[in-house]
Amino acid sequence: MDFSFSEEQTLLRNSVQGFLQDKYDFDTRRKIVATPEGWRRENWQQFAELGLLAAPFPEELGGFGGAIESMIVMEEFGRHLVVEPYVETVVLAGGFLREGGSAAQKEEHIPGIIGGETVWTFAYAEPQGRYNLADLKTTAKKDGDGYTINGYKCVVVAAPWADKLIVSARTAGEQRDADGVSLFIVDKSAAGVSTRDYPTVDGRRASEITFENVKVGADALIGEEGKALPLIEKITDEAIAALSAEAIGCMKELNTATVEYCKQRKQFGVPIGKFQVLQHRMVDMFMAHEQSVSMTYMVNLKLAEGDEERTKAAAGAKVQIGKAGRYVGQQAVQLHGGMGMTDELSVGHYFKRLTMIDTQFGNVDYQLKRYSQAA
């Protein structure tokens, strides 16, 4: 039993921290989010140079780590509210290619991800499907050697920045069947792909994407036709593990800021941190964070386990961070009073991000059900 980090892992954390403290303070982040693009490609390049985009890949694919390295990067990203698409490009697309891609696909695409040249995202959600990954109206029909894709994907985070998409589509079966789901690599610039972009409440960008007779070759298929659902579940669980790490970074910052504020802010002649009711509140926030750290470690350590074990770990972690994120976020705003409501302070921004993390890949209700069914 050992929960300590290796020397290399500590060095990785220090290098992410160093970069973000230098180049990603709250004011800089605000400026990045306010630009028309909404992100900074040069940051992405620097992440690549620091090796961060290689963090979750094994050595044979040009990387140096795995889930724990990714967790370290994401926790630090959470502390600085980084908007660049690490989860979408590295964890999701990188994960699909690593786990399900052919030798040729890995060779063709993973170096571009690690090198920071290509940005990817995963287009999976559809308006009727809510959080069910198999509820798909988007279809891919066999067409000569390749496929023709038709359908609509909603709230595709990071799509405005992406060069390439991984798209889930039905190649067989009924709308919600587990069987018959396939994954395809689609160029965002391919004929028939149209996007409408918009900002999200947590300072990112997303798109609605329509696929109209989009032709892809046989080499666009990831893994076996019609058998992609287990792979999608595995890799979205990896995304959940990464988001959990991001969430504990957000909570840590909120708790630090709140304790600091309550020590300084005076009302009725004393710092408000002297009031027992607020002390207990902050202790609850502290415990919510600690419990979330535990679940985050747990899920990241169990990603390689069998499906049932992994599902329970991921669903459990998502429930924990969903509830804790809501509590910590709401109370951090409450204890900061009116100041906590302002756009000027970072508190509201962490709160908004934590709220959206709960929505991404299934909220507390959805994951609770998933956990019960797996248990």
Binding site: C154, Y198, V201
Partner: protein, 395 residues
């Protein structure tokens, strides 16, 4: 004990329902306050003024309707049901009652008709950067010089001050007195030189609140309400009124109805979200909380009509009312699923922004973020707990 309406009351309900249906402007129906111009915000106010119904809670001699509490309750209920724009409280519910209760004849004649007509837009100069929950620690200073006060200081969280003609303002007139005792209640013309209004953008992107800076602002002494250094009494009177209206029961009922409609449209595995046991259960729980609150409010109103209160019990309405409101927006955000992520432009909107998803989903998470303010403002919910602990439980 009787909770049902009499035939007369039912006839009254039909009358006001019909009036609202025939007179509430169709073009305002789809707009939230954040999307309205100043004139649009005032439209309903002016229509009601013409009808004589703008201030049902005022004494008849000052322009009230003479309705009893049941009629007023029906009136609020019907407005919520029709989803009319809530009238701004700053003149009608806050400073108006202070003026007719503590003001002199001249002040009544000068200010009350213009509150009723909507010609004067009022804002509330209470909170300061250093004084939130501890309101009595306020530091804005007013010094008497001849027939004027010279006011210096700053106010914050001033709602819609960007449109205001007047501000009712708590100022310190005796810095040596105990903190509640040196405060006065001044009415300040917002056009006076030395006043600067700076917007505060909240995390949902809205421009609702402001900072107001006062630098050597010259205020005629005739704008003092009541006696100098007795302002805390008037301020507390106003806060008591503020709390009694804060439960928002009728509006919350309508909002739950909306939530149900959304949950009926949203699908989980092809079935309406409303039919899933867990979400249905959450809505039911919320409705039960609201039912309890509704009867608690009615009990408070009934006591009030017999001349008791609103006492410290009003704090229950503030706490429970805001908890219900916050929970409604939380569940509504949850209901819209992935589309909760979409940012619907507010402060800087040009009107051409693309907002995807069903219309009912637009802006739901922002509403949730915005409503976090309700447990902070009007005396934070922690302060309300203190009030009940001290004044009701005697702890």
């Amino acid at each position: 004990m009787d909770m049902s309406f009499s035939p007369d009351e039912l006839a009254f309900r039909d009358e006001v329902r019909e009036f609202i249906a025939n007179n509430y402007p169709a073009e305002l129906r789809k707009k939230t306050r954040g999307e309205m111009t100043k004139e649009e915000i005032l439209t309903w106010h002016r229509i009601l003024h013409k009808k004589g119904w703008v201030a049902p809670h005022w004494p008849v001699e000052y322009g009230g309707t003479g309705w009893g509490i049941t009629q007023r309750y029906i009136w609020n209920e019907e407005n919520a049901r029709a989803e009319t724009q809530p009238l701004l409280p700053f003149g009608l519910s806050m400073v108006g009652p202070v003026i007719y209760t503590f003001g002199n004849e001249e002040q009544k004649q000068r200010f009350l008709p213009r509150i009723l007509s909507g010609d004067d837009w009022w804002c509330q100069g209470y909170s300061e950067p250093g004084s939130g929950s501890d309101l009595a620690s306020l530091r804005t200073r007013a010094v008497r010089e001849g027939d004027h006060y010279i006011v210096n200081g700053s106010k914050t969280w001033t709602t819609l001050a960007q449109y205001a003609d007047w501000m009712f303002c708590l100022v310190r007139t005796d810095p040596d007195a105990k903190k509640q005792e040196g405060i006065s209640f001044l009415l300040i013309d917002m056009n006076t030189p030395g006043i600067t209004v700076r917007p505060i953008i909240t995390m949902d992107g809205a421009h609702e609140v402001n900072e107001v800076f006062l630098e050597d602002v010259k205020v005629p002494a005739e704008n003092l309400i009541g006696e100098e250094n007795k302002g805390w009494t008037y301020a507390k009177f106003l806060l008591g009124n503020e709390r009694s209206g804060i439960a928002g029961v009728a509006r919350s009922k309508k909002a739950i109805e909306r939530l149900r409609e959304i949950a009926r449209s949203e699908l989980v595995d092809g079935r309406p979200l409303l039919d899933t046991e867990d979400f249905r259960g959450k809505i039911s729980e919320l409705e039960i909380d609201l039912s309890a609150l509704e009867v608690t409010e009615l009990r408070t109103l009934a006591a009030e009509s017999k001349g008791q209160g609103p006492g410290p019990e009003a704090s229950i309405l503030k706490i429970k009312g805001t908890e219900v409101q916050q929970r409604i927006t939380e569940l509504t955000m949850e209901a819209v699923g992935n589309y909760a992520m979409v940012y619907a432009p507010r402060a800087e909107a040009t009107g051409n922004e693309y907002v995807p998803g069903p219309e009912y989903a637009s802006g739901r998470s922002q509403e949730y973020f915005n409503m976090r303010k309700t447990s902070i403002y009007g005396g934070s919910n922690e302060i309300q707990h203190e009030i009940i602990a001290k004044a009701v439980l005697g702890l």
